[in-house]
């Protein structure tokens, strides 16, 4: 074996790779936002008085958690046009990421809401606040604080999952690197470099969450 490493194609493709990192970031952040919305909405439905709604949410969560993201994104990719919705691969990927992350977010947020003592709810009601106000003003922040560590790791996982969106050619780091790889055949060099990029991206994501946590959830507890 006298293979010599040659990073020239990687260096030449660097501007493309760096912009693709932004694409990955964009995909991840949009996915997280959608996942959060689905998560909160799901928790509200999950605690609804209507049994059917509760079961629908449970079914949704289990269906998503027990099937691979790759299969989900293919399914959504083919299902949306049949439902009359024509979207580019990138928005399609965001929807898939949001649905996938949302299922996990439902379980995490539900745990956080349950961790808040019943007394907090009652104190709010006794002060004349409405249920929605109690949830928004009293329950939400401590619940978010309680779940922030698990939400962080789930969202870092979501960030890593964006690489699978390359399967439908969404614009992000992995699909761009695949293009450079197939043009240059320097597979190892390309993927090695891109792996390092992902390491930095997930590290940045973690810092970002730590920053938010310190900024918005820093109140003393016993």
């Amino acid at each position: 074996m006298n293979y010599t490493l040659d990073f020239t194609p990687v260096i030449e493709g660097m501007p493309n790779l760096l912009t693709a990192c932004l694409g990955t970031f964009m995909l991840a952040i949009s996915g997280m936002l959608l996942a959060t919305v689905i998560g909160i909405g799901g928790v509200v439905l999950r605690t609804s008085k209507i049994k059917l709604l509760r079961w629908l949410v449970i079914g949704f969560v289990e269906l998503i958690r027990n099937t691979p993201f790759l299969v989900q994104i293919f399914f959504i990719y083919f299902a949306l046009p049949l439902a009359g919705i024509r979207l580019d691969p990138t928005p399609t990927a965001i929807i898939a990421l949001g649905i996938n992350g949302g299922a996990y977010a439902i379980e995490i947020i539900r745990g956080g809401v349950q961790s808040i003592s019943k007394g907090q709810m009652e104190a709010g009601l006794a002060l004349g606040l409405h249920k929605a106000q109690v949830f928004r003003l009293i329950i939400l922040k401590p619940a978010l604080r309680a779940i922030f560590p698990s939400l962080t790791s789930q969202f870092v996982l979501l960030t890593l999952t964006t690489s699978i969106a390359s399967a439908i050619s969404a614009y992000e780091l992995t699909s761009v690197s695949q293009r450079i790889e197939s043009d240059s055949f320097r597979s190892f060099e390309v993927y090695f470099t891109v792996t390092a990029f992902y390491l930095v991206i997930s590290w940045l994501m973690m810092r970002l969450f730590a920053f938010f946590s310190a900024r918005y959830f820093a109140y003393p507890v016993k």
């Binding site: 269906l63 027990n66 293919f74 399914f75 870092v156 890593l160 792996t195």
Partner: protein, 213 residues
């Protein structure tokens, strides 16, 4: 979709099961080593294993499979796709399981280690007879949770070009142009594998929480 196509999917399913089993079993063995190294008390060893874990938890599994696949070829080891994927999944699993079990080992009360030291037990017996049995019990729900994640992760082998369940689905879908039916069935097959494990894991977790109280 006819019988032949379904049979083709089942052939893919067989490989998905095989990949999962190999990845999990080998990952358990390697992961145990990682967990022990991570809690060895030797700073350098702990630092290196922490880095190993951070590396695998901070990068996409897909990239890990790519790097292993092309990396093995690079160092002159010519292997089939399935062997490369197995190595990749094993490394991936060893890092995740190592981290899960590190947490569990640290969750065993300090008094247990102290009591075994006071009883003059050596490191091997202390770990094998006292700490690990308790740690494994604590970590069982998380371990099963990871097994589910690993089964789903094997689907990425399809992107590397190995024909397991998802790639079998791709192939059929391209033949018969019924992607929703095909991926629906593929999804159901994964669900049938994963859901019982998920339920069992949740059951263990509840049981464990109840016994702690």
């Amino acid at each position: 979709m006819g019988q032949d196509e379904f049979f083709f999917l089942l052939m893919g399913l067989k490989w998905t099961v095989a990949l999962s089993a190999i990845g999990f079993v080998c990952g358990c063995v390697a992961g145990l080593g990682i967990a022990l190294a991570r809690t060895s008390g030797v700073p350098l060893v702990e630092r290196i294993t922490a880095g190993y874990i951070a590396l695998f938890q901070g990068t996409p599994l897909l990239m890990q499979l790519f790097v292993v696949y092309y990396g093995l070829a690079l160092v002159g080891i010519k292997v089939d796709a399935w062997a490369a994927v197995s190595v990749g999944l094993t490394l991936h699993a060893s890092a995740y399981l190592g981290e899960i079990w590190r947490g569990a080992i640290e969750a065993v009360p300090r008094g247990q280690t102290e009591a075994s030291k006071a009883l003059a037990l050596g490191y091997v017996s202390r770990m094998k007879d006292v700490v690990l049995p308790q740690a494994l019990r604590i970590s069982l729900p998380a371990t099963i949770g990871f097994l589910v994640q690993l089964i789903k992760g094997t689907s990425l082998a399809s992107i590397v070009g190995f024909t397991e369940l998802t790639r079998a689905g791709n192939i059929i879908s391209n033949q018969i142009f019924q992607p929703l039916t095909v991926f629906g069935i593929v999804g159901i097959l994964y669900f049938v594998m994963c859901c019982p494990l998920t339920i069992y894991g949740a059951h263990l977790e509840r049981k464990f929480a109840a016994s702690v109280r």
